[in-house]
């Protein structure tokens, strides 16, 4: 596929849109359907597309395996960490109200942060798994 001109150009054009869409899905989750989970998946799909077209190595130069692995773990830490912070601020675990003076703002920040955690983990996990499969396939043949 790497030699196919149309695919290469197509992928190059489409990818920014996919990434943008992922971000839209993430940040628009408060208003319409979507959120961190879907955004993470879409983001991972964007990089999977690139890897299919340009080869795994090319993508891994930009997003090294250790980085996506780190993302997988980091997202969980972000999510759980928000809870720890609210706990330290004297509220109950994941009580976002603690995050700002106005409970509504607190909720808003909290939701954004935890959704970010979800996004990071889902993106990291999906990409890691993709790397592992794709990487092994390359070596096996």
């Amino acid at each position: 596929m790497r030699d196919d001109f149309i695919v290469r150009v197509g992928a190059r054009i489409v990818t920014p849109f996919i990434v943008t869409f992922a971000l839209y899905v993430h940040f628009h989750g408060d208003f319409g359907p979507g959120g961190g989970f879907q955004a993470g998946v879409i983001l991972a799909a964007a990089f999977a597309l690139l890897a299919l077209v340009y080869g795994l190595e090319a993508v891994q130069r930009v997003l090294p395996p250790w980085f996506v692995r780190g993302c997988a773990a980091l997202g969980v830490l972000i999510f759980a960490g928000v809870g720890v912070v609210t706990m330290l601020l004297g509220h109950s675990y994941l009580g976002y109200n603690a995050l700002a003076h106005d409970p509504k703002h607190g909720q808003h920040y909290g939701i954004l942060l935890v959704e970010l955690g979800v996004l990071v983990t889902v993106f990291g996990v999906m990409t890691t798994i993709f790397y592992l499969f794709a990487g092994r396939a390359g070596r096996g043949e």
Binding site: D30, P33, A45, R69, L94, K104, I111, G124, F133
Partner: protein, 190 residues
């Protein structure tokens, strides 16, 4: 209109499921699985569960198809012929299905506003969400705040999956240990 769409989608869904079971070419199986997810996403949309539909489309039809294909590259395209007819599994599936159908006969009618699901905690979510949380999408406020802890658990599930795959696949080439039957003999040889 909605009913017709629903019936069509369900018929297609059933046909896809049957094909999935019958087809032996794994490549086709993966594609059909993608189709299945897409159809389900359609059904969810018809049932006004847009968030679920979105997720199903992104995960079921999107990334998992890619991952399945990645796995296929490792194991080949043809499914091994099963050694015996799966009578017992079929019976189990039939009984399970029948039980589910039996169970749904007492189910409250679909979309009935008097249903308990629409009243107990749902009332609170719908009425208080904007006051307590202040964002318009109630689904998000439930997922991220009211039941945010579940979402954290699900994030952990996803992470656990990655840990599992990494443990299994991360560059492993280990020497297989002797099977139990050989073990004592091997010990005696040495």
């Amino acid at each position: 209109m909605i009913t017709v769409v629903g019936i069509v989608l369900f018929t297609l869904l059933g046909a896809t499921a049957l094909a999935l079971v019958r087809v032996r070419n794994l490549f086709a199986v993966v594609m059909l699985a993608g189709v299945y997810s897409l159809l389900s996403a359609g059904l969810f949309t018809v049932m006004d569960a847009v968030d679920v539909a979105f997720t199903e489309a992104a995960v079921g039809a999107g990334i998992s198809t890619v991952l399945f294909l990645g796995a296929l590259a490792l194991v080949g395209h043809r499914e091994a012929q099963p050694s015996h007819r799966p009578i017992l599994p079929l019976a189990v599936v039939a009984v399970t299905g029948a039980t589910l159908v039996y169970g749904t006969m007492d189910l409250p009618g679909f979309g009935d506003p008097a249903n308990p699901v629409h009243h107990h905690v749902a009332d609170h979510y719908l009425e208080e969400s904007s006051r307590e949380i202040g964002i318009p999408n109630v689904v998000t406020s439930v997922l991220a705040s009211y039941r945010g802890y579940d979402t954290m658990g699900e994030t952990t599930v996803v992470f656990a999956a990655a840990v599992g795959v990494m443990l299994l696949l991360a560059g492993r080439r280990r020497k297989p240990a002797p099977e139990p039957d050989e073990a004592p003999a091997a010990a005696a040889d040495r």
